[in-house]
Each structure stands twice: as structure tokens, then as C-alpha cells.
Amino acid sequence: MSEAASVYSVDKVLLVAIRDNITDTDIINLQEDLSERIVNEAARGVVIDIAALEIVDTFVGRILAQLSSISRLLAAETYIVGMRPAVAMTLVELGMDLPGSKTALSLSHALRALKAKGLA
């Protein structure tokens, strides 16, 4: 796994904690690694915690949105959790409101939503 994030697999859900100040290559590698793991581990859900990210620029925002689309095609549902308020405000101003990505306030909110759908 790349050094961009720690990934834990619990009950068919991949829990991903992205570390701060990642490079473009780090996050592209993470996208590849996660896509492989969704299939290899038959994951039904992916929860990406971005609480450590001080900023999400247009590049990282695009990769996060793509990750949601990729996992949907691989039959897993993705939640982005832990977004800082300042990051949300900045993303909206950039015109990137991550259409197609589900968000939740925290990891436990996301897990509850996945459980309610029988995915965790």
C-alpha cells in the first residue's frame, strides 16, 4: 500500500485514513491500490477519512470524486468523512462540490449508513 494513507479492512468495509500533505502521485497510487483491494477483498463499502487534509485542491478533489465512481462500478459504496468546514467552503468556491460522492460527518456516521443498507 502506498504511504499516502493507512487502510484497514473491517467487515467488508475498507477504512482509509489519508495523511496530510500528500503528493499527486501518492493519491493516484492510492486510487489504484484501493480499486484493487475492493475487488480482492470483495469490499461492499469504502470510508475515506480526510480529516487530516488541511486542503483539498482541484486535483485531489477530482481523484476523490473518481474514487467514488470507480468503487460504485465495483459494487462498493464510498463515503468521504471528516471534511473540515474550511475545506468544504473552499471546494464550493472552486466549483467542486464532488457530485456523486457521498459524505458523512464521521466514520461512525458512515458505518451506520452502510449497516442500514446491509453493506457492513
Partner: protein, 135 residues
Amino acid sequence: MNGAPAQPAARVELRRERDVAAARLAVSRAMDALGARALRKTRFITAVSEIARNALEHGGGGVMEIYNLERPRRIMIRCRDEGPGIADIDQAMVDGFSTARSMGKGLGGARRLVAAFRIESRPGAGTTIEMEADP
């Protein structure tokens, strides 16, 4: 372009991808030193990230200097590259304009996120961008 102090507070070479992360970190520290508010810091560092990536990808690398301005008390960055330059700046500032793998929101987005934005570019003579943020 502007009356910046002669000596930058910090200077980051933009040669490799990791240098974009280094530029973000350097600006983050400079804003912490000024006691900047969280939202202003997030907005400015996001803008810094966009233009540092542009300098690397379109400008073939460059340098970012960080200045502390006195009146008004602000952070200023100057990002220079010696790339091909931008033929039509007005067009490049429009959301959706892209010549590379970006979404084309970077340059116009950066301008919306900062207190002052100046760009100077000529085909063949590189691009210089200055941006300022209040603390």
C-alpha cells in the same frame, strides 16, 4: 511586479512533484507565524497548491518565494516559471479552460480564493504570479 521586500522569508524550488507539497507546507508555516485564521489559511494554501502545480506541469518548474508584507500586514507569494508562457491570460482564467490533465478550474479558482492576484505572462517568456492573503 509589486513592492515586495527585497528578501523573501522563504523560497521553495519547484522541480519535482514533492516540491508542491513543500511549497504548501512553507506557506502554511508562514501563515501560522502571522496567526492567520483557519479559513483564510485553507483558501490561500489551496490557491498556492494550484499555481505551484501549474508552474511544475505547464512551466516546467520554477520557484516560489514567500514574503511578509507590512502595510497591510499580509502574506505574499511570487511564483515564477520559465515555461512557454500563456498566450491568452483572460481565456486561461476562465473555469473550464485547460491545456493539460487539470479540470481547468485551477487558475480562475486560485484568483477567487485570494485577497490580491496578479499575473504576468508572455509567450516564450514564462509566467509570474503574485498572490496575497490577509492573516
